[in-house]
Each structure stands twice: as C-alpha cells, then as structure tokens.
C-alpha cells in the first residue's frame, strides 16, 4: 500500500513536537496552508471592493469629494476629488486585485489545498514543502502589488489587461514604478500558482485512496484537477508576456512598441491566450463546488455526472481556441473574427449542459434551503445570465457596438460575482465547519445572502442597459458626452447600490470572525454529506485519517434505496460491497 511510504506517516507521531511557527506559520499541512490562503484572499477581496467603491463614487457623483477622501494625497485626489489618472489606476487595480488576489486564490489556493487530500482520502499533498512555498511566494507577491500604490506616479493605470503600448512606456501614463511592480508581482504570483497546480495534479493522480477511481471522484475534485491543468498551461504564458513587457519598459526591447518595429497586437494575443483559459480557471472550481452542494441539499445524486465531466472537458478544450473574441475590434485580420465567433458560440453549449444538469439535480429532490444551498442556487441563476450575455458579444457584428462598453462590464460581473463569488459564499459556509470545527451562524448567513442578492442585482443588471446606451468602459467623466448624459441617473443608482452591497459584506465578515470563536460546535458531518472529508473530525488532525480510507461507491448516493438514511457515505461498507484491489488507486477501473 502506498500509504506506508508517505512522508507524513512518519511525521505524524512528531506532530505535537512542532513549534507554533512550524505548526501554524511555516506549515506544510495542506489544511493550514488552505486557511492561510483564505485569510490572505479575503483581505484581497476587501481591497478589491474598496477600490470599486472609490471608482464608483466618481461615476455616481462626478466631481464631488469622496467622504474620507481627505486622507488621499494630492496626487490622487486633491480635496478628495478623484483625478482622472487616479481613476484609471483604480479601475486597473480593482480588476487586478479581484482576479489575481481574490477570486483565483479563493477558488484554487484555498479549496484546492483544503479539499483535495481530504476528499480523495490522502494524508496531505504529494509535495507538502512545495505547497508551503506556494503560499510563501504568494504573500510577498501581494505585498509587492500593494506597494505600487505608494510609488511616485501612482499604481499601474493601463487596465488589468495592461495593453501595450500604453503599459509599455511611462510616457503615455505617467506611471513608471507602479506598472513595473505590477508586472513583477504578477510574475511572482504566477510561480505560486504553477507550484500549486503541479502539486494538485500529482496528488489527484497518485494519492487517491483505494476504491477512489476517477469516476468516483466528486465533481469539486474533477473541477480542481482540470483547473490545475489549465493553470499549468496558461500561467506561464502570462509570466512570459509580463517579462517581455517588463523588458520593454526597462532594458530597451521593443516587443510591443510599434515605433521601433514591435507589434502592439502581440501583447493582446499573448495576454488573451492566457486570459481566456484564465476565466475558465475562475469558474470551473466554482461549478464543481456548486455540484457538490446542490446534490447534498437536494438529497439526490448529481444529474448526469458523466455529462458534467464531459462538459468540463469541453470547456477546458474549447477554452484554448476562443481567445480572439476579446480582440474582434482590435485590428487583427477580420477573417479571424469569423473563426473565433464559431468557437465562442460553441463554448456556450457545455455551460448550457451543466446548467440543465444542475436543474435536473434539483428536480424531484428534497430541497433544504440552507445558506450554502441558497448561494449555490444563486450561482446557477446568475451565472446563466452572464453566459447568455456572452452570446451577444460572440455575434461579431453586435460586438462592434457593445465591445468596450458597460455591457461587457455587466457580463464580467455576472460571471465573476454572480457566479464565482456566490459559489464561494456557498463553499466557505459549507466547509467552514470542517475547517474550524464550528458552524457559521445561519440567520446572519441568510440575511447576508438575501441582501447581497438584492444589492448585487441592483448594481450590475443596469450595466447591461448602460452598455446598450453606448456607455464606454473606463471613462472618468461620462458627462463629456451628450449621448451619455441621460444615463447619469443610472450611474448614480448603481453607485448607491454598490455602496449598500459592500456594506452588506460586513455581515459575512462578522459571521466569519464571530463564528470562529463563538459558533455552534460542529460534528464530523453536519450536512450529512457522503464525501470522505466528513469521516474525519472537524477540524481534522494532522495526517487527516488514522487509517487509510477505503472507498466503495461514488460521492452522490443520496436517497439511495440501499439504506434507510437519505445519504450513503463513500467509505461506508455495505454487505456485498467488494474490497477494492490493491491497484485501485492507480487509475480508473
């Protein structure tokens, strides 16, 4: 059995000898590392939200001093009134923090780390020390990114997409140190992701417990596994492009600088070749968590488990050949517009399949509408809107009008907030008891959910209409244009909704912190789920399982006719169940 060869079987006995620093700071335990990522990313999420509110203030109340703006320096907001260059920087850094320092680490760094070993029945990751490095590289990358705000000239201001030549030469933005720090931080953070992906892939391939065949893996693990392959292949492209852009800025290369023989469009191709797989990195894990949570709370198997995997594989594959849809109006050969339109329209199909399968899971279920379920169903309902708005952009002639308008901003936020973030609220609430040994408060959770759902839709739905009105993106003062002046009221409405939305998140933060100390103590399996993680104490000890778990069935045997209870754990042996062979954990049988 592979277990006896695992390093932690030896370290297990020494666990109580570790110093506080080795146990909780420089830890190689995947659970501690997952929680470290959780705390870091929630800070990133908060920073991203603050940046959004600040830029929204200017759009909602143009030219008015922002409350508390007195603390901002004259170079950003003299008298509390935002300068256009600071506004551009806010827009850039909001996107940067949300994508790289909030959503991605929350989905992949937190839950990849926490769930994979527990749900496959392993004592830890394949490479626990490498895992520790993953976090300890991400932390300085975050600090470096934050330092950009304090640089002369301000932080990067060329958009989170950093298009060249605007981003390549300080002459065009007045930003020098900020953009450089941005590129370095992204490249360093990329290393953290690549190390993590290597670990996750190796762990899922090699450390599954006996009986945990590929087609008995929960969809959350499938999603994290496939996402890791995307990370491994896509992030190096971003890192390479970032280094090339850094060289353009510092050592006199001209990769992206047309004035000396370079190609501005090259940046876009490189960035979006990474960037499109990136958006699937930002949604696939969420889809996985939602499948687990909807099945659990419908007390029903996932409808179409194999179709769900097929759909994820299709998304993963097609995701590599759609990047040009970000570049329809870029000046690239128009013939490419047609080819990318076809691939982009096709990628709508697997997402549709998944949506119908989630509905099929709920159909004829026995639905418990607890906090994880509310958020998970909201994911489906909101993600679908984001997906449907994508169809407008895929149709290239329509994209001529809506490209670089608020219609795109609406789409982005319906998939990233309506999608990923609601899924994260669901996942954090669902796995919180396993992580911390306590339940989050359900009443606060429900109030947080309903208020968030309301203010979120009030904030982002009208952005579709702004886009239909022609409202461009990244515009400091729309009142410059007569055709945008009638839309000012909608901008103010959105800003007020956004402020209420951000304020509501205090409920989540309070619930998170208070429950850590005062929450109702959690049993091993408070949600009556089938996953292997619920067979351990809450929280699990170092090494996770006292003996190697044995898996007898798939993860979604809810309301099975074989037993009286409405759930049937993967590791519970019934009369007639065969022991898996020794080779079970080496591949699909």
């Amino acid at each position: 059995m592979a277990t006896s060869a695992l390093p932690h079987a030896d370290a297990h006995g020494h666990e109580h000898d570790l110093s506080f620093i080795r146990k909780y700071i420089f830890s190689t335990d995947h659970k501690i590392i997952g929680i470290q990522f959780l705390l870091l990313s929630l800070i990133g999420l908060f920073i991203g939200g603050l940046l959004a509110i600040t830029l929204r203030w200017q759009l909602g109340f143009p030219g008015e001093a922002i409350p508390g703006g007195g603390i901002l320096p004259e170079t950003m907001a003299p008298g509390g009134i935002l300068l256009p260059e600071f506004y551009n920087s806010l827009v850039t850094m909001h996107g940067t923090f949300m994508v790289f320092f909030a959503i991605m680490p929350l989905l992949v760094g937190v839950f990849g780390n926490y769930l994979i070993p527990l749900k496959i029945g392993a004592p830890d990751m394949a490479f626990p020390r490498l895992n520790m490095w993953s976090f300890w590289i991400a932390l300085p990358a975050t600090v470096l990114m934050i330092s950009g705000f304090f640089m002369a000239g301000g932080h990067a201001a060329a958009g989170w997409t950093a298009y060249a030549p605007l981003s390549a030469n300080p002459e065009w933005t007045g930003v020098s140190g900020g953009q450089k720090v941005w590129l370095l931080s992204i490249a360093i953070l990329g290393m953290s992701s690549i190390l993590g992906a290597t670990n996750y892939i190796t762990t899922v391939v090699n450390l599954r417990a006996p009986g945990m065949t590929w087609f008995r893996l929960p969809l959350s693990i499938w999603a994290l596994f496939l996402t890791s392959i995307l990370v491994l292949l896509a992030i190096p492209i971003l890192s390479g492009a970032a280094i090339m852009l850094y060289f353009d800025q510092t050592i006199g290369t001209h990769f992206f600088d047309a004035l000396d023989g370079g190609q501005p469009l090259l940046w876009q191709h490189l960035f979006w070749y990474f960037g499109h797989p990136e958006v699937y990195i930002l949604i696939l894990p969420a889809m996985g968590f939602v499948s687990d949570i909807i099945s659990n709370n419908s007390r029903k198997p996932v409808f179409g488990y194999h179709s769900m995997i097929f759909a994820m594989l299709a998304i993963m594959g097609l995701g590599w050949i759609v990047w040009g849809h970000h570049m329809f109006q870029s000046g690239m050969n128009p013939a490419l517009g047609t080819t990318f339109m076809v691939s982009t329209l096709l990628i709508a199909v697997p997402s549709a399949i998944k949506t119908f399968n989630w509905m099929g899971t709920m159909w004829r279920g026995n639905i418990r509408l607890n906090v994880p379920m509310l958020n998970a169903v909201a994911f489906v309902a909101m993600f679908v809107i984001g997906g449907l708005s994508g169809v407008f952009m895929a149709v290239t002639p329509v994209d001529i009008y809506i490209h670089d308008t608020y219609f795109i901003v609406a789409h982005i936020h319906y998939v990233l907030f309506g999608g990923s973030l609601f899924a994260l609220f669901a996942a954090i609430t669902f796995w919180y008891p396993k992580m911390f040994g306590r339940m989050m408060n359900s009443m606060i959770g429900k109030v947080h959910f309903w208020l968030t759902f309301l203010f979120y839709n009030l904030t982002f739905w009208p952005m579709h209409n702004l886009g239909i009105g022609g409202h461009m993106r990244r515009i400091y003062d729309p009142s410059e244009y007569e055709f945008l002046q009638p839309l000012q009221g909608m901008n103010t409405f959105i800003t007020i909704s956004a402020i209420l939305l951000l304020t509501t998140q205090m409920l989540f933060a309070l619930n998170f912190i208070m429950s850590w100390f005062n929450g109702e103590k959690a049993s091993d399996n408070p949600w009556k789920d089938n996953g292997v993680e619920w067979t351990t104490p809450s929280p699990p000890p170092h090494g996770n399982f006292p003996t190697v778990p044995i898996v007898y069935r798939g993860p979604y045997e809810f309301s099975s006719p074989l037993v009286e209870e409405d759930f049937l754990p993967q590791t519970r042996k019934l009369e007639g169940d065969q022991e898996p062979g020794a080779a079970q954990n080496e591949g699909d049988r």
Binding site: P84, N88, A157, P165, L166, W172, T173, A258, L259, G262, L265, K300, P301, V302, F303, G304, Y305, Q329, G331, P334, T338, M341, L345, A352, I353, F356, N357, G360, W363, N366, I367, R368, L369, A381, V384, I385, L388, V391, F392, V395, T396, P397, V398, I400, Y401, H403, D404, P462, N465, I468, G469, M472, R474, I475, F483, Y556, F558, S559, P561, D566
Partner: protein
C-alpha cells in the same frame, strides 16, 4: 428597461440591430425557462416531512435534447452573422467610390485628413481638421484609421462603427450615413488620463453643403 438600442443612422446599423434583437429574443427565452424552472423547483421540491427525493443518476435522452437545442441555436446564430461581419469589416469591403479619409488618433484627439476637392488622398489639396469629421449623407466613406502613440478606438455609436486604432497599422473603416446631423465620436479604448475626453464630432451634410464645406476649407 433600456434594452432597446438608440436609433442608428448608417446603412448597416439596421442589420446589426436586427441581429441584436434576434439574440435578445433567443437569450430571453432561455432566461425565462431557466429562471422560472429554478424558482418552480425550489418551491415544488422543497423539503417537507416525509418527502423523499427521487433517486436517479440522470437521463441520456434529456442530455441529448439539451445539448442539441443549444448547439443548433448557436450554429444558426453563427450562420446569420458571418456575412454581415465580412461586409462591414472585410478589408476590401468598402463600396466602390467611397470617399477616402485618413483618421489619426493620438492622446487625446482625432486628426482627420480630407482628400480635398480632387477626392484623392495624398495629393497637394489635402487638409487636416482636428476633431471634426465631415461627410456627405447617403454616400459611403472609407477612413484609413491609425494611431500615433497608444491604442485608441474610433467609436461612433449612432453609426454602429467601432474600430481600434493601432500604432503601426492602417485599418480601413467604412460607413454610409443615412441622415444629416451631428453625431458624437468617442474613444473606446483606455488610452491615458485624457481617455474620457477624447471626443470628436461627425457632421453629416447634404451633398451640396458638403461640397461647399470642402471648398471653404480648401480656400483657407
């Protein structure tokens, strides 16, 4: 609220808008089916004492149906769109006889080069005007679009025209205005601190007024 496009004033605006409305109807139907379905299921199948869930792992017929219908739908949308895209954006697709212009974007203005009285770009009677594009109504025009410094984007919402202006590239943009009047030009690609005020105007003249305007400009 606000799903109706503002009026368009170019020959291909109507075709673009038609595609938009087709997509709006199709996605609207999908939206209603999914959202209504979710709400109905949440109510109809909510937990009640003694209720059991229906134990099933799925249904292959259902999978085939809800794969095929979206697939056919998107294929049809694609087939409906490809031709119009080529017609608008194809590099050789400006109608014969289109009046030539050059439009050059730079931080933070648009410089328009006119062909002058001889109707040819690159001759001695060309002249440049900042932030004003004058065209005759019901006549196709083709702009050779370029940029001096960073990427800008030439956007005329009323004509459904948008094209990124890229340093080092010259990209043809054609349209035919269908109504006289004044229409705003906006920059639609973040280009620096003045991006928000990179505004210009298209003035669509009658044919006679346009000739007169060109003559007046040339006399200066």
């Amino acid at each position: 609220m606000g799903w109706i496009l503002p009026e368009g004033f170019s020959t291909f605006a109507g075709d673009i808008d038609f595609l938009y409305y087709v997509v709006l109807v199709v996605t609207g139907i999908a939206f209603v089916i999914v959202e209504l379905g979710i709400v109905i299921f949440l109510f109809k199948y909510r937990h009640r004492p003694g209720q059991k869930a229906h134990y099933t792992h799925g249904n292959n017929t259902a999978e085939v149906i809800w794969t095929a219908i979206p697939a056919v739908t998107v294929v049809v949308l694609g087939l409906m769109s490809g031709g119009l895209w080529a017609e608008i954006k194809g590099h050789e697709s400006a109608p014969a006889g289109s009046i030539p212009y050059a439009v050059d974007g730079r931080q933070f203005e648009w410089n328009v080069t006119y062909a002058g009285l001889d109707g040819q770009l690159g001759t001695g009677d060309d002249f440049v005007v900042r932030n004003q594009l004058h065209v005759p109504v019901n006549q196709p025009v083709v702009l050779q679009l370029s940029a001096e410094d960073v990427i800008h984007s030439f956007f005329v919402p009323a004509f459904r025209v948008k094209q990124d202006a890229v340093p080092g590239m010259t990209i043809p943009v054609w349209f035919e205005a269908t109504q006289t009047g004044e229409y705003e030009i906006a920059c639609a690609e973040l280009c620096g601190l003045g991006h928000y005020r990179m505004r210009a105007m298209v003035t669509v003249h009658t044919a006679e007024d346009f000739q007169q305007w060109v003559a007046d400009q040339s006399a200066d």
